[in-house]
Amino acid sequence: MPRKSRQLAQANENLRGELRTHARRAKGVLRFQRGIEALPEALVEGMPFLLVAPAVYLLLRIILWFSAPIDPPMGFGLAVMGLLAPYVLFVLAQVISAACKAVPFSAALRHVDDQLHLADRLQTAADFLDRPQRTAFMEAAIEDASTASARALGEPLRIEPNVEVPSSRAWLYPLGGAFLVFLGILIPIAGTPKGPIQVASEKQMAGSDVATAQDEGPMKPVVLPGATPKLQKPNKSEDSKATVGASGALSPKDQKMKAGSGKTKAGKAAPVGAPSGSAQAKGAPSDEGKPARSKKLSRKKAKPRKPKSGQDRIPKGKKQEDDRQSGATMGRGSGQGSSKNPVASEWSSKDQTPQDDEEPEDDDEEVEDESEKSDARGGVQPNLRDRRPPSSRDLAIGFGNRPGGDGRGGPSQRKKSRGTASLVLGVPIPDHIKGQMNPGTTKITQERIEPKEEESQAIKAEARVARRGYAGAAQTPSANPRLNQVIESYFRALRAKSEKDEKK
């Protein structure tokens, strides 16, 4: 027996050594694994460095901008080198600190157990080996673990890092940083607040002006019948470009252009020869004439006018003809079939300018009276202005739809009204005959008041005490007298017995 126990002790000691070896191997793997696992988090956590440093860089560039211009490519290269350094250092520090964290013995054994599918045998053995008292099952478990441990020593441990890229908005930091760096690079090129740089830019601007003028030179006024006012846009942009390019000071050509463009923009086409002239030439309304006209037309459509007099009542065909003559095609284009000359004439230009005498026309507008309308149809018609949806035919009283939800329907809306007109058209027709009221004896009045909640004090809850007094003999009609006697004697005996026990 002592020999056997010695053998067991030796086996246990061997197992301890093996467990330590397993733990050492697992610790190395776990440290490396933790370092890899810490990398994404460190990369994300260090992102602010990528924003702070570019901000500093931008600040420096601004300061340098005011002092002396620097070479942008040189500055960019230096900036990238300098800015990445703190970020890289931070990430390295995080990874190394994660890898250097202590790995507990049990955690290392657990890693081996999990990876080699040993069903916690090594952890269990380590636990049981430290116990002073061991049962047969514990010894069996240790023996089982020693077999598994010996087998596991030959198997390599894999590095299986659980890399999870943290979902964070920190990725915006490098973008912001890149943007700041970009801004920093742009500074010497974009702005020139100081003397020499400003002169250079003015020269540049002048050159660009010349270039614009040269570009504009070969352009000729194009008058196309199918051209649309869309062609006006490039002209406008060119105008604006020219204005911006000279930074407020207009070139003589531009000044001429500005002088030429009046209210009607009629004179615009000739000097500049821009496509806008072509748009006007085919009879399209000018920008100024258009909104006023269209507004007026829409108003005319909305309100029915009262025909004032015979001269105001213009035949429809004639009015359309007038419209055509005025060139107000309203986007219909010349393809509408107008027989008029599409080239802008003095008459049409004159027509497009707002005329003062047209305004009072709106003021005189009146809505037709309903009575007049009725007269026109002949006979008395129901007042359609008070038209409303047909009254409800639902005769059921309301439940719960009233305030309080107490099931009291209360007075509901009108249920019935007479006549087809009422049902179909929804025109209210009074449900009574004009005349004197029947002087009856009975008068029924219905109170049309919403039911209100009564105010009363709630009754307080009280504890109900059990009856203490005599409640009377319990009736047992089913039991016969003999059975009653038996039951009574049984309970008497039982009570006597319990009293006797209590006395004891």
């Binding site: 126990s5 067991l8 049990s106 955690a107 657990r110 069903a119 916690d120 045998r121 952890q123 269990t124 636990d127 049981f128 061991r134 049962t135 047969a136 099952f137 514990m138 010894e139 069996a140 478990a141 240790i142 023996e143 089982d144 059975l483 038996v486 049984y490």
Partner: protein
Amino acid sequence: MTAASDPSTAKEAASKFKAVHQKIKDEVSRVIVGQGDVIDGVLTALFAGGHVLLEGVPGLGKTILVRTLGEAVDLDFSRIQFTPDMMPADIQGTQILVEVEGGGHELEFQQGPLIANLVLADEINRATPKTQSALLEAMQERTITVGVRTINLADPYCVMATQNPVEQEGTYPLPEAQLDRFLMKLIVGYPEEAEYGAILDRTTGNEEMKVSKVSNGEEIMAMREIIRGVPVPDHVQRYAIRLVMATQPHSAHAPVVVNENVLLGSSPRGAQGLLLAAKVKAILDGRFAVANEDIVGVAHPVLRHRLHVNFQGQADGIDSDRVIDGVLAHVRATGGQG
């Protein structure tokens, strides 16, 4: 070192246990086709000394499984068909007047079907909570008190209840106190396609399957002793505790899925159940101590009826099994497995 700590005795005990388990399983499998997990679960509850609740749609052989087990093991078997009009006295027993020789009458206790070794409580959720409560004392204390009389139930004592998940009409859900007393809740599913042929052959032919008694009460008790002797390492015990605590809303280890969807978590009985069932699993897997994977293996049947999903969880279609999955993942992710 004493003789008891000789590893060979543990190995012998473990192999004996496996042999007994296997022979009972084989005998039950002569009648029941497939459902290996359910049979294992029922036997686990029997050997661990717990009660089992079988849930499944009608016609899946829940009742026949328990009846066959009662026949395979030489135990006093009784079946109670729960009905809404059943009273506690109907299952516990009552005192009746009997005529004695030589004239006269006396009250005699007529024991109910609850007094047996293996009780099949068929469609337990059809009885009223009053009647269901009559089982509480029997299941936990292994005693029945009627009037002034207290009856100790004979070991082994095991209640195997069945309930139907679809028949909500006329059923009463089991109270939490009673659900907690079941060691496991097993879900009986539909058989596989390959199993249908065998089921039809066995049930529609002339041959009647006879189940022989392959074990008895003493043997079951001896197996229970073996199971109780299986050691639990510290890290496994910690894991079981953390799992149970993680099912309790707003506890230190509770994950978000529990805090949001669980009304009532597992009681300490859940941890006891985890370890007892895991011990059986460890021995059946050829190990001499419980491992974390045993706990994981029995977590669903042991914990699913102890978790009560709240209204929000029910509305989101979350059941207790999903919560347990979340708990297992959370405890593993937080390094709670040792």
